[in-house]
């Protein structure tokens, strides 16, 4: 067993789990944070993406022992009780997600991108989502929503209604 203490969505959490437990399993099975999804378990699909120490990573590729003392942000930590994070609002508004399974991972990747680059180009957005596979959407409406959210985060007016 490994004893691990880390910060998850701003709270200090501890667990005692077998050392082969991944961060994804820790979040889902121990902390009941099921927003991060298991789609492939080997870092190909990105559905498990969370932000560790400010950087998006595949939580299926980290062992619990490696996250000791680190700061983890999951999809559940983005919004609070009555406010949506702009990406979440814009993803909803543009219908950016269909089956939604890739969504939490995509939004975490997008958040990390916007934290670093407040005004990304389409190519930069495509690059940032390169590790998040989606089979439903063709990524088009995700890119639209990320651009919209970047406007809100920059304090500009977001294009909420698509011009026809």
């Amino acid at each position: 067993m490994v004893n691990v203490t880390l910060r998850v969505n701003g709270e200090t959490r501890s667990a005692s789990v077998p050392p082969e437990t991944t961060l994804l399993r820790l979040l889902r099975d121990q902390f009941n944070l099921t927003g991060s999804k298991l789609g492939c378990d080997v870092g190909d699909c990105g559905a498990c993406t969370v932000i560790v120490d400010g950087q998006p990573v595949n939580s299926c590729l980290m062992l619990v022992g490696q996250v000791e003392g680190r700061e983890v942000l999951t999809i559940e930590g983005l919004a609070n009780a009555d406010h949506l994070y702009p990406l979440q609002k814009l993803f909803e508004h543009f219908g950016s997600l269909q089956c939604g399974f890739c969504g939490p991972g995509v939004i975490m990747s997008a958040k990390a991108l916007l934290d670093e680059n407040p005004d990304p180009s389409t190519e930069e957005i495509r690059d940032a989502l390169g590790g998040n596979l989606c089979r439903c959407t063709g990524y088009t409406k995700m890119i639209e929503a990320i651009k919209g959210a970047s406007c809100i985060l920059r304090g500009e007016e977001a294009p909420l209604v698509k011009s026809a």
Binding site: V2, P18, P19, E20, T22, D41, V42, G43, D44, G46, T49, Q55, P56, V57, N58, C60, L61, M62, L63, G65, Q66, E68, S109, A112, L113, R126, D127, A128, G130, G131, N132
Partner: protein, 303 residues
Amino acid sequence: MKSFEFFAAKDSSDAVTLLAQHAANAKVKIIAGGTDLLADLKFAAHGPDVVVDISHVDDLKNITLTEQGLNIGALVTHTQIMRSPLIRQFFPALVDAAHTIGAVQTRNLGTLGGNLVTAVPSMDSGPTLMALEAIVTIAGNGGRRQVPLNEFFVGPRKTILKPDELLAEIIIPKQNLGKPTHFLKFGLRKGQALALVNVAASFWVDWEKNVFLAPRIGLGAVAPKVIRAPQAEAYLEGRTISAEAMAEAGRVAVGDAKPISDFRASAEYRRHLVAVLTKRALESAWTLAQTRRLEGWNGQRNA
């Protein structure tokens, strides 16, 4: 995943001590970024008994300009390489190579050392470092030793590392600082691609004679390990720079490659790609050499 014991190393000497303690009577694996290791362990019939985590070892995370050259700590991630002003300045080819590895998430976790230690023939870090004649520092219980990267790889997924040793740093020798280099990768798609073939080409220019000096070509995914292309290098050495020479060097490089056919591509197609990509990498390195000269770089080989 099979169960194992887990130890986290505090620094590199602690890591070496942990390895020495366990490697004698147990199967030990080192985890750094974990992007390759965990993907493997999840399907492995027989896992390691002990995993030594070095991801918190901060003394292997520096990028430093030293007497010897550019030292890159083994735990520097691909993302750090892409963002490093030093590397961006001297070796944009390393930045390009890092950018083609996996995706953002895996580049944030994956380390340069991990990429080399895994020793997959299609690794993207290898060809550029081979073309720049990199040296690696290996840390063991008895101290440190240095070997040329060329001698580090033994075969597919095999290096000269002993079970109780650790790859500590990668050094690009001082005489190659700023050497015009270009990296090209050809994969089956743009995002998260594995290389069918990757090529790095590097050379100095004798501007008076307009000839290639010290041309170096690294090839990946076309042999059991990342290789240099000695015949193509010999062909170019001292030859007048021309489009024809670069195209011919590509054809000569085909003779240096020994690709296999697999489900991703046939050997024949890989050979064809070696010719095309080598030519293109040389052309782009030539463009870079000219740009740097215009920008006032000293385009000569360093003493």
